[in-house]
Structure formats: structure tokens, C-alpha cells
């Protein structure tokens, strides 16, 4: 299994790069800053790609990504409201926004005895649009806070971790890892769902219950992620595809690979975003700039 080895080596290289490369020389303080960036990068990149893989499996749709279901836009909306009220990014507001919109999407999609799964996508997309418009409204009202909201929308790993938020962030990361393991238990179900809902039902999967579990758990995870580092795009859409190209259709293999590849990809993108210009670019800009050509290359091959 030398693909696995290659991926692990890439991952370690990306992590080292995240710590060693930068405009200033390495000292104790800089090391701490960069280490927390690397930890946040592994957390966010891994979770976004993992959730993308899970959701593409559940919906049998290659275009679904973590933000399709509205929870990321909800987090951005909540975060923007927080900025408008208090002037700084506040993870609690972002998380409440994500949870609120998630619940709202579920309520719209819910019908008696119908297929919840297919309605979730449309409800999620519609709510995403609504949230984006509301964020624009807040940006217009807020005026001078626009810059902070931009980072929330495009993603930023340089969150200052200090005594005021260290405990919160550490707790969110630990809870997220527990949820990831919980979701990973369903890899067999996701394999089966790729053959259609009736097949899955016939094999004993309760689709309604399964969709609810996956929807709420991924919404929580995405809410956690966006509330800390903002809505970093593209990782959750593209990395699962790359993972499937490399490791095959079995979710037992491609989900963990998605996690590691997502982390690697985000670390590389963050290093680029920190070093390519004098100003730091939002990392979400770099993920698409770097990711699209790479994906086209792999896809054509």
C-alpha cells in the first residue's frame, strides 16, 4: 500500500512546511503561533473533507459539499451578527447560527412518510442563499467591520489562540474527533446507499433515521469548524473526489484518506496564503486557486 505511505509522507511534509516556512525567522513565539495554525489546519481541512465524503455518500451526489446543507452559511450569518454586535468574531454566535439554520433546513425538509433525504439538499441550498443575502445586508449596515466578515466568509487559520479561547477551541476539537469516529462507523451503510435508497432499505437500513443522524452530526461538525476558522470552501467538495480516485469507492478506506488529504491540502494552501504576497490572503481563496488546476489534472488522468 504505497499510496498510503505517499499520502502520510505528504501530510508530514505539509505540517513541517506549515511550521518552518514563513517571512520571519523561527523563534519560540512564532513557533507557537505556527503550531496552533497547523493544528487548526489539520482540524478544519480534515473535518471539511471528511464531512464532504460522508455527505456525497449519503446523497449519492458528487456536487454536494459541507456547505450545501446550509450550516456553513448559517455559521457565517451568526458570526456576522456577532461581529456587528461586539466587533469581533465570536465562535459561539457562529455556532448558534449554524445550528439554527440546520434545524430550520430540517424543519422545511421534514414531511410525513416521505423521503427526507432528497428534500434536504433543496432546503439547504435555498437557506444558503437566504443567509448569504442577510450577510450582505449586515456588511452594508456594518460598514467598517466588513474586513472581519470577509475573513469569516473566506476562512482564516490565523486565529489568535490565547487563554480567553484556548479551552473552548480545544473542547470543540476533541468533541469533533469523537463525532468523526462516530460517523466513520457508518461507512458500510454509505457503500450500500450508493446503490439507491430502495436497495439500502431492502438490506435493513432505516433511511429516514440514517439521514437525520448524518445530517445533524455533520451540521454540528461544520458549525464547529466554521465558528473557529470561517467558511473555507472547496476542500469539502474536491478532496473526497481525489480520495475516491486514489483509494477506491469503499468508504472504509476513502473516508480516513479524505481526512488526511483534506488536512494536507489545507496546510499547503495556508502556507501559500501566508507567503505568496505581503498581505495575507484568506486561505479559502488559495484553496480554489491551487485546488482547481490540480483537480482538473487528476480528473483528466
Amino acid at each position: 500500500m504505497n499510496k498510503l505511505l505517499l499520502v502520510s509522507v505528504l501530510f508530514i511534509a505539509a505540517a513541517l512546511m506549515g511550521i518552518l516556512i514563513g517571512p520571519t525567522a523561527l523563534n519560540g513565539e512564532i513557533f507557537q503561533l505556527r503550531l496552533s495554525r497547523v493544528i487548526l489546519g489539520v482540524f478544519a481541512g480534515g473535518i471539511l473533507a471528511f464531512c464532504g465524503g460522508i455527505l456525497q455518500g449519503l446523497f449519492g451526489n458528487p456536487l454536494v459539499e459541507p456547505y450545501t446543507l446550509g450550516s456553513a452559511s448559517g455559521a457565517a450569518l451568526g458570526g456576522s451578527i456577532g461581529i456587528l454586535l461586539f466587533g469581533t468574531i465570536n465562535p459561539v454566535f457562529a455556532f448558534l447560527g449554524s445550528l439554527g439554520v440546520g434545524l430550520f433546513v430540517y424543519t422545511i425538509a421534514r414531511i410525513e412518510g416521505g423521503l427526507l433525504r432528497d428534500r434536504l439538499i433543496l432546503a439547504g441550498v435555498v437557506m444558503s442563499f437566504l443567509c448569504s443575502s442577510l450577510v450582505m445586508v449586515i456588511m452594508v449596515i456594518g460598514g467598517r467591520e466588513l474586513y472581519e466578515i470577509l475573513y469569516l466568509l473566506m476562512g482564516y487559520l490565523g486565529v489568535i489562540v490565547d487563554s480567553s479561547n484556548r479551552l473552548l477551541i480545544a473542547t470543540l476539537i476533541i468533541v469533533s474527533f469523537v463525532l468523526v469516529v462516530f460517523l466513520y462507523r457508518y461507512s458500510r451503510e454509505l457503500d450500500i446507499i450508493s446503490q439507491g435508497l430502495e436497495t439500502a432499505s431492502g438490506l435493513g437500513i432505516n433511511i429516514q433515521k440514517f439521514s437525520i443522524i448524518i445530517f445533524f452530526t455533520t451540521s454540528l461538525l461544520i458549525g464547529f469548524t466554521v465558528s473557529i476558522v470561517g467558511a473555507i470552501g472547496f476542500v469539502g467538495l474536491i478532496v473526497p473526489h481525489i480520495s475516491k480516485l486514489l483509494f477506491g469507492p469503499k468508504h472504509l478506506n476513502n473516508l480516513p484518506a479524505s481526512f488526511i488529504l483534506g488536512a494536507t491540502f489545507l496546510l499547503i494552501a495556508d502556507t501559500v496564503s501566508r507567503t505568496i504576497t505581503v498581505y495575507e490572503l484568506p486561505v479559502g481563496v488559495v484553496t480554489s486557486l491551487v485546488g482547481v488546476p490540480f483537480f482538473i489534472y487528476l480528473y483528466k488522468k
Binding site: G60, G113, R185, Y186, R188, E189, D191, I192, S194, Q195, G196, E198, T199, S201, G202, L203, G204, I205, N206, K244, P249, K250
Partner: protein
Amino acid sequence: MAIEAQQITFSYVTDEVIKNVSLTIEQGEFLGIIGPNGAGKSTLLRILCGILQPRYGIVRIFDQNIKHIHSKRIAQHIGFVCQETHFSLNFLVEDIVHMGRYPYLRAFQKQSKQDHKAVDDACEAADVSQFRKRPINSLSSGERQRVVIARTLAQEPKVLLLDEPTSHLDLYHQSAIMELLKKLNGQGMSIIIVNHDLNLAGLYCQRLILMHRGELYAEGPPQSLLNRETLQEVYHTDVEIIIHPEKKIPQILLK
């Protein structure tokens, strides 16, 4: 009794698709459900295996109310094959057949010797052993349907439910699948099949159920059920009936 349905009624929103249908299926039967488009055949089949829940009425499998059986437990008794499966991920045939063991496995549980044997037997029975290492989407639709049957056999069900399994297959694959079902039936498995092809249904099924506008219109062996008057009534089509020279079963010709 393998499956028993009592006064089943089912509706999508307001339209009643199944109206007060009762039927019993004995273990070892080969039963065909026939009827015009929209008569409720496929819906009835899905209710019998618990994929759809009836609005009113009770379904029992092996004398237990289906509502009170865990869905994985149901899948250990009843296998369901749908008309055409779309494989959105390109798994190996072998991996697909292994998915038939899902009802017996917990999360992360490794497949045991018994699971592997069930898969080997299922591949052998459905005659897909030669494709085991091939990706599913490289097979023809007839071959893919046999893989789906192999996956369902890996569930080791006592009853097999099939919704028009041959409707888009050529003559060879139609007969291959029907012969396979006949063989399985000979080994004691109950077969319930929804089929549009009345001639095929007549040749293989011991008993037919004719659905019409959501109701059970008639039931009986093909010899008595497939007659000109009944078909005229239900299908609004005038037909000619001849008797199969070998099997002595009515076969229907269009006029």
C-alpha cells in the same frame, strides 16, 4: 405462512394506491403479481417487505408483525430485488455481493468464514463467480441484474421479492434469471415476482395475483386466471389465448 397481509390500504398523499388487500403466501410458493400500469403491484411488493408502511392493515412475516421486527432482522428473512439498480460508485462485483451480508454485521465487524461462504455460494448460484474481480459498471445490464440477485442471495433470505427483474433484459437473460428463480424455488425459497410479461409469469408462477386499480381483482393458478374475459376486463385489450404446446399453460397473443 411466509407472509401474510391483512386488509392493507396505502396512499400517496391522497390517492389510494392499495385498497383493502389481503393475501397470504405459503413458504415455498412461486407467486406472480400481475396487472396493468398503476395497479399498485410494485407498491404492494414494497409493503410486503417493509420498505413502505401501509396506512391501515397488518403485515406479518413468519407470524410476527413486521412493525415489531428490526429492519436488519427483516432483511435476514426477505430479500428485495428492484427493477434496475443504478450503481453510482464503481465497486467490484465481489464487494457488492458482500454488501448482502450487511444485515448480519455490526459496525466495523469483520466478515467471518460463514459470511465468506454465503458470498461464495451466492456468486455460484447466481452464476457471477467469473465476474467477481470486475468493476460493476463494466458488466452488461443482464449481468448486473444477476449480481444484484447474488447480493440478495448473500442475505440468505427465505423469501425473495422481485420487482420486474427482467423487464429490460434480452431473451437470453430473461430466461436465465427465470430459470435461476425456478431453481431457488426448487430448493425451498419462496419467490414473489411482479411481472408485466404475462406469458413469462404464466410459465413460471404456480399462482398469480391480478391487481386492478389498487384492488386484488382475481387470484388463482395461471391455467384459470389467464383467460380472455378477465384480461379484456382489466387491460381493455382483446387477446387471443393459445396453450403452450409443452407446458400446457395459457399464452397470450395480441390480436
